[in-house]
Subunit: 302 residues, 4 copies
């Protein structure tokens, strides 16, 4: 299968359809008039609202969050002027805001260790055109995945890692992240702990998959501990990485039923299918700017 030609076709189709799609994320204190101001602004530019989601924590003095996807002819020619112009509204309402453009794909790095299944799922979704991103590099502390990654024309870097050489390893990794100009870093079963130093380079940009329904079974060997506790459900959780292990903002979770007959090997097999779909969904939502982080929680505008 020629992945490249398939992706080329996909990007072409996409660029026709999505060339003029912009997205606006807004966060501010809730006040009357925000939706009116934003929608009137877009109207003046003759932008058509394609999708709009909002959430107020409390109509009386809470926070307000908004995601709008809009279509605007010749968007790329107008975007600079529009962004500058929006500044006025943003100042008036003291907004945090962010414009993005469907055609400007985020650049994704994937970190993986020995087990390739989450990586494979992401590559599969990407080849199918379901992950709108450039996967610019895969980094691993094992050689196992090199073949399947390079077959798709993606650079693969092998960086052996263990806790004694962590600092040195992370220095190399950060350097690669800069060289490849990475926007999103996905830990697809990367089994090394990252230092606060490393994490601080990528706030709310590192997406991890943890193999339990957090906050149950934080830390190592969750399937073994799920087996020991005799739970009747096992799960997986995708979250942004912070400096507190497995405590970052949760993006997505899912579970499957298990029973007494399922030993640890079986739990891991079932768990793999959960991990694959949970991580793929979380990454997809992040790439489409559907996730807003607030304190230690996420708002996901599906």
């Amino acid at each position: 299968m020629s992945a490249q030609s398939k992706i080329a076709t996909h990007l072409e189709e996409q660029s026709t359809a999505q060339r003029n799609i912009g997205r606006l994320l807004v966060k501010c204190s809730d006040k009357p008039g925000i939706v009116s101001a934003v929608s009137t602004f877009l109207l003046q530019y003759e932008a058509n609202i394609v999708e709009s989601s909002q959430y107020s924590t409390d109509p009386e003095g809470g926070m307000f969050y908004l995601r709008i996807a809009f279509h605007l002819d010749n968007l790329l020619d107008k975007k600079e002027e529009m962004e500058e112009d929006f500044n006025n509204i943003a100042e008036q309402y003291e907004m945090d805001y962010h414009f993005s453009y469907a055609v400007e794909l985020k650049r994704t790095a994937i970190f993986v260790s020995k087990e390739p299944y989450c990586l494979m799922e992401l590559l599969w979704e990407w080849q199918n055109g379901d992950l709108n991103t450039d996967i610019v590099v895969v980094i691993s502390n094992h050689e196992d995945a090199r073949g399947m990654v390079e077959a798709l024309g993606i650079p693969f870097h092998y960086i052996p890692a263990n806790k004694d050489i962590r600092q040195e390893v992370e220095k190399q990794q950060v350097k690669l992240m800069e060289e490849y100009d990475v926007d999103v870093l996905v830990l697809a079963r990367y089994m090394q702990i990252l230092t606060p130093e490393f994490v601080s380079h990528f706030p709310n940009q590192i997406i991890n998959i943890h193999h339990s329904f957090l906050p149950a079974f934080i830390g190592a060997r969750p399937y073994e501990r799920a087996f020991g506790r005799g739970v009747k459900l096992i799960g997986a959780t995708s979250h942004y990485v912070t400096n507190d292990l497995d405590e970052g903002p949760i993006i997505e979770q899912d579970i499957e039923r298990v029973d007494h007959r399922d030993d640890i090997v079986q739990l891991k097999k079932i768990g793999r299918t959960i991990e694959r779909r949970v991580l793929a969904r979380a990454v997809k939502w992040h790439l489409e700017d559907r996730v807003i982080v607030e304190n230690n929680k996420t708002i996901v505008f599906q």
Copy 2:
């Protein structure tokens, strides 16, 4: 348990919280400026948008649907003026629209036959304050449910029914619907077929629960047929009643797993728990004006 006093308390709490909550449903051809116009209108009244959901079938020349819940001090004093005022916007955009007010509870009638479980679920949710409605009457072609209904202070009417006296029966039922000034009619396992004549009185106001995942097993005895076909899932579907049996717009569906060991009796038991929750959700969404019917489909703004 004094249901009345409980409900009284609940209504009181609710009226404090919800006295000033209004809802606006809009449907029209998609054009630039709708959201701007509506949100600017609400801003002029100093209404605060509490919840907003929208859906466009196609940004280029499709349909546009909007549900807004808003908070406005002294809403009930201002609503007439506001509704009249909104007319201008509505004409400009050729909108179908509808204002409703949380405090003006819809009046619900429930029809039931012999099996009471769906009725019980609705009464239970209602007693818990999870169904914001006045249940004004229960009508049955059996006496079984009289006790539990009257214990809650709800009028119960026994109208024996069979297909030979259908016209006569429906005449009585329509008369009761008028007397009780009913807005919503829930068929909670009412096992009589309704005539087109009857249905035409209540367009998109009659909610039924069908005991299969439609369009599988349309018609009678779905559990028996599910057993015969050897399906591995059974389901239930709540839909608006139209003149085509089990063909009306679907509001909600759900399923449970079954296996070869489940005989028809067991399928019915499992099915009961599905029917209960599917019907309760559909009724709840209808009561909160979350459902828009378009052709033979629904838009549900959860």
Copy 3:
């Protein structure tokens, strides 16, 4: 609704169908020949195996668990002889075993505090004939549930409780358990902590519903903490009560999806539907002798 007459009819039907149904639970070290010995034993009595489930932890030197339901004409006349006779096999294989008879209903007590929904679900399932038990008493530290319990002819005891009078309260409760000759004690949202002393009277006989997917959110206020953590799933867990709070053997768990819009009130509403079905399933399986406790885990032969 005349619950009594309904239950009477149900029991009658049941007694015809189930008068001759026995169940045998076996636990022992796995050795060749167990199934052969047990099935040959039943054959000699001309018993017909209706249902049979088994589980080996490890065919080489692990544990073996067996549940057999069998039909035997005139079972009640033969059971004493049969049980005595079985002793030989049991000794040979060093079995723990237990015979029970469908017609000898377990005697259930339900403890409840202020929120009645789990109690209502159990009563509802019981009235439908889906819980084969005698509900012999309901005990509460609030008066709220008295009406609905007594309406079904079930004795209701109000015993005010708080941590200062715990010992005194439990003394009364144990006395009632003895008076009513209780086999199973269901904590249907009973919000008082039980002492080790109390628990020791009822090993693997007290079934609790905890309002989280354990081991997440052990202890108080799980919905508040689930909200705080920003989980995307909430759950409920039914387990046997041991002296370690929320650490007993898990019988059943289930979850529902939630999202950022769900506040604590909403989480509790959604949670109620999970708690109801999880507890009902766990109690049902216990009553049908489908649950074997081993160390801190359960084998559930569904």
Copy 4:
């Protein structure tokens, strides 16, 4: 990734663990003594029962189904004698029965058309050691999948097909099935209809994936029709192929929630993940001899 070496390692591990695992499937009229006879037979051979599942349609005069997995030292040396010996019991109880051996892998052929995702899932599960089979050939009416199939060392045959040359095509396919000595034929989104003639060669050996929750949306374009009907769930069904289109015995089904925002493209994307897991489960159960077909239904001993 060297798939071959991985598979080699996997088979080696497996052969150590599973060399001595046999399975016995039994079907007969229910009579007292069957379990006793079979378990005593296995005991005489000093076989240890590892897993046992049974099902009676009706203890009084119904059918009886049994699946036993057993461990027996030097199984392969003894199996012939054992099978011959079992004949006596089989005759006595008029059993249909079948012995199989974990180490004798079934030989699987996969048919695929343009869309490769179900094929990929099967290959992925197989590489992970989760499908215990030899995938001996892939046949397609398109060239798309050749690369990924041949990369794993599996023969790939391109046979263009359309309804005008059906007979000719099927002749070639049957010939290949014979050459490759195929036991199981998986239609992993093979979009050509098979003739009764072809199907008759492989009774209960052809496994198909249909992209709806049958019996809803039998036939072509189920996602389009699901969209048209406005269902709130979409599903997939894996079943044995018979001469009645989409009417064969169902092995497994599953669903996902959808809503009004999901257009046909989106339904297909969601559907793909359902199809992948439903087909993988069905094939796995078939390969482990967990599925018994009776009339038009299946008993699945999970």
